[in-house]
């Protein structure tokens, strides 16, 4: 069945993140191991249980479209998505000679950061509000419409796994012949009083209020929860032959994808790592590879006690003896958890790792956890050739997804 399918190239990338709002700025921060976490500046969080987050700091509103209706309906997360999409499309030069069927698949959710104030003044939907602003399907709709796409569109909302699943949907759409190219990724913005409430009450957030930059410490023994972030990652996925024929930049190839479900507890990860194991195993099989072919894993690595332990167990199960040799790092140590956008940004990190031959670190790694005993590329980047990388995303509700990527035209 594999041979009938078309190959899928990545020809464009765009990112808006807490460590940089361009691909180059983000990459240089990650290579240098710089944290994007700090005290929250967008509102006064000083009385909240957690007072810090990973905010996007240099976002340029001028990059949004002039159209007044679009400006009305694009909220913060979708503004990030819009700009990352524009960058990815420009990077790909896809629109110079677009193939007939281009679609869009994005992982996101509706967010209502102003809900508390609205509830206080009793007016949830003031006159002039466009109800589409609150729809999770708004951003795919306006992007498809703006760029005159005629192919499939789809929004995935599986919390922390959305971005990776959206990429999977796009990958499948191309290789199964439903689309010739797809704009795909995720966007989210979680640093608001409401999301801070929701995640705090679940005990999921780090409360290291005296030292925000060191709060996200995946796989470190002293980790105490994740750090909320925000941003967007967008990629242009394209039929490989089409990309070659038009001389497109080929940043890499999507080689395999799988999703799975823990069928366990709603927020807890199973101690045996079953769902995560299954997603990794199937994605590697889908790529026609053996686990030993994987040379880098971009971990979900949230910095919660449970995730990091369960993910380590899953990696051990999937990779066997190779687990001790494969470098693993967590981008979240530097930019926090971008939730619906995380998987997309982290897949871009995997592609850049392959391109540059540099593995970005897990920062804030100080004290080894006996239950997390693999190579997490602690604190400093490592120069190392990587041909095949795997990106993991696991979310609330027990949904997991993994993607395998390979080099572009280097092979």
């Amino acid at each position: 069945m594999q041979s009938e399918r078309r190959r899928v190239a990545v020809t464009g990338m765009g990112a808006v993140t807490p460590v940089g709002s361009t691909i180059d700025a983000m990459w240089s921060s990650l290579v240098d191991g710089r944290s994007g976490v700090d005290y929250i500046r967008r509102f006064d969080a000083s009385t909240f249980p957690t007072t810090f987050g990973a905010e996007v700091k240099d976002f340029d509103d001028a990059r949004l479209p002039d159209d007044p209706r679009l400006r009305r309906v694009l909220d913060r997360k979708n503004s990030f998505g819009w700009v990352a999409a524009a960058d990815a499309l420009a990077d790909s030069r896809l629109l110079d000679s677009p193939p007939p069927r281009v679609g869009v698949a994005i992982g996101t959710e509706s967010r209502r950061p102003e809900m508390l104030e609205r509830l206080a003044d009793g007016d949830m939907y003031p006159a002039g509000d466009d109800h589409l602003r609150y729809s999770p399907f708004l951003v795919v709709g306006v992007l498809a419409s703006h760029y005159c796409f005629t192919g499939p569109q789809l929004t995935v909302s599986t919390a922390c796994t959305s971005g990776t699943q959206a990429l999977g949907v796009a990958y499948d759409a191309i290789r199964r012949g439903r689309a010739d190219a797809m704009l795909a990724g995720g966007c989210d913005s979680l640093i608001d009083p409401l999301m801070l409430t929701g995640f705090s009450l679940l005990g999921a957030l780090s409360t290291r209020n005296d030292s925000p930059q060191t709060a996200s410490r995946p796989f470190d023994l002293q980790r105490d929860g994740f750090v909320l972030g925000e941003g967007a990652g967008m990629l242009v996925l394209e039929d490989f032959d089409h990309a070659i024929a038009r001389g497109a930049p080929i940043h890499g190839e999507i080689c395999g994808y799988a999703s799975s479900s823990n069928a366990y507890r709603i927020t807890d990860s199973p101690p045996d790592g079953q769902g995560a194991y299954l997603a990794m195993k199937r994605a590697i099989e889908d790529a026609g590879l053996d686990p030993s072919d994987i040379e880098y894993i971009n971990a979900h690595g949230t910095s919660t006690q449970q995730n990091d332990r369960s993910e380590t167990t899953a990696i051990r199960r999937c990779f066997g003896a190779h687990a001790l040799h494969v470098p693993i790092s967590s981008t979240k140590s530097m930019m926090g958890h971008l939730v619906n956008a995380g998987g997309a940004v982290e897949l871009i990190v995997c592609l850049l790792t392959i391109r540059h031959g540099v593995i970005t670190p897990t920062i804030n790694y100080e004290v080894a956890d006996p239950e997390c005993d693999l190579d997490y590329v602690p604190n400093v980047s490592r120069r190392q050739r990587v041909d095949r990388a795997l990106s993991n995303s696991f979310g609330f509700g027990g949904i997991n997804a993994s993607v395998v990527v390979g080099p572009g035209l280097r092979e």
Binding site: M1, F43, A45, S46, T47, F48, P49, D67, R69, G103, E109, S110, R111, L116, L119, A120, D121, M124, Y125, A127, D129, L132, S135, P136, F137, L138, V140, G141, V142, A144, S145, H146, C148, F149, T150, G151, P152, Q153, L154, T155, V156, S157, T158, Q165, D172, R176, R178, P193, T197, G198, L201, S260, S261, N262, A263, Y264, I266, G275, G397, G398
Partner: protein, 422 residues
């Protein structure tokens, strides 16, 4: 590619939760739309809606799980249980890693009631004080607020209950979500990712938040007789009637279903997911989008043309006219001979559930060779001049394939083609 069939149907609707009862009510041209005074007596606008009836969550869901579920979530989980029972499948006999779930979801939701105490505590002279909220209010919020509103709640509970560990998705695409969820499951099974899947959608447009939002947008229908409020394709329509419900299908590859001797309701033949090229900022349903989704589904089904379409029938002038034009573009002159009834005339518009409900009804229509009517269609909109099966009676029809149409309010379109297995 493998063939994909439906072996279980689960429905939670304004006509109850028994598929045969629902089917009879639709064929009899009953109306489930009524005035919603009993939901909020103080409402200044009199909203007409089509609430779920005869639903008792405890028949399908344990009490502990129910505490984490908004009402609409319970509809989705119950519909899956109904589909499971209908299928007669022994889930212990399925490889859990090859059992998937694809849910068309309303997306993240937020129960205001869980936030109100905290907001009141932090509000002083009508002014919301964030510092006080953070210090004292936050701890008063229902601790499970986030999880109760989790966008992929239904997907979670389905995977937990049936140990469905395989490929999955949670599609939050408004009115096309259920259709797309079924389409994505169809692709996953026929390409061999999984063997069996739950697929469908759930939604409610009847919680305070949604009612307020759409009332403000001026999209709701009004009528002297609430039962006559939903009038797709009629010149006298006044808007849409908000509904709620869920439909889940149990889908299996044909060989897997045959091996266990399953009763087969019908076969998924094609799926189309497409966008219409409209003006650059419009992002709204278009004739081109309706046509393209149908064309893609027909191509996907190796050229099968449906004998009937279960129409989207949103019941606003613009969208009804675009859909009519879309049917003409997709079918050419044959459009006049392809009946296109709208279930929305009877059960209102159920958003993420709508496409899945249409798919379930299409299967029953194929089985019985009958098409339900479009009720309340007395005065024809001149631009809507196709055969919508106007009246209050089902029409006998020779059906081998039926299409279902869906669109969302931001211009996404999806269609399915469903056939009878002979």
């Amino acid at each position: 590619m493998r063939r994909v069939v439906v072996t279980g149907i689960g429905l939670v609707s304004a006509f109850g939760c028994d598929a045969e009862t629902i089917w009879r009510a639709l064929c009899a041209g009953d109306s489930a739309t009524r005035a919603l005074d009993d939901i909020d007596g103080n409402r200044s606008v009199r909203v007409i809606g089509a609430p779920v009836s005869g639903f008792s969550a405890r028949e399908y869901i344990d009490g502990k799980s129910l505490r984490l579920m908004a009402p609409a979530v319970a509809y989705g989980v119950a519909a899956a249980e109904l589909a499971a029972r209908d299928s007669g499948r022994d889930f212990a006999a399925v490889d859990p890693t090859r059992l998937g779930a694809f849910v068309g979801s309303r997306g993240h939701s937020s129960d205001r009631q869980d936030l109100l105490a905290a907001v009141r505590l932090a509000t002083e002279n009508g002014h919301f004080r964030l510092d006080r909220y953070g210090a004292e209010g936050l701890a008063r919020v229902h601790p499970m607020w986030l999880l109760k509103g989790l966008a992929n709640n239904v997907l979670y509970f389905i995977s937990l209950k049936y140990n469905a560990q395989g490929m999955n998705n949670n599609v939050s695409m408004g009115g096309v979500a259920g259709t797309m969820a079924i389409g994505e499951a169809f692709d996953a099974i026929r390409h061999g990712d999984i063997d069996v899947a739950f697929a469908g959608g759930y939604d409610s447009c009847l919680d305070a938040d949604r009612l307020e939002m759409f009332a403000r947008a001026g999209l709701f229908a009004s009528a002297d007789d609430p039962r006559r409020a939903s009038r797709p394709f009629s010149a006298t329509r006044t808007g849409f009637v908000p509904g709620e419900g869920a439909a889940m299908l149990l889908m299996e590859s044909l060989d897997v279903a045959q091996r266990r001797g399953a009763r087969i309701h019908g076969e998924l033949l094609g799926y189309g997911n497409a966008t219409g090229r409209s003006s650059s900022t419009a992002a709204r349903p278009s004739a081109e989008g309706f046509a393209r989704a149908l064309e893609v589904a027909m191509t996907d089904a190796a050229g099968v043309t449906p004998d009937a379409v279960l129409a989207h029938g949103f019941a606003t002038r613009a969208i009804d006219e675009e859909e009519t034009l879309g049917l003409k573009r997709a079918f050419g002159a044959a459009a006049e001979t392809i009946p296109a009834p709208a279930l929305t005339s009877m059960i209102g518009y159920t958003f993420a559930a709508s496409g899945a409900i249409q798919a379930a009804i299409a299967l029953l229509g194929l089985r019985d060779g009958r098409l339900p009517p479009t009720i309340n269609l007395f005065e024809r909109d001149l631009a809507c001049d196709l055969d919508y099966v106007a009246g209050t009676e089902a029409r006998p029809a020779s059906l081998t394939a039926v299409a279902v149409n869906a669109a969302n309010l931001a211009g996404a379109h999806a269609s399915l083609l469903i056939g009878r297995v002979t």
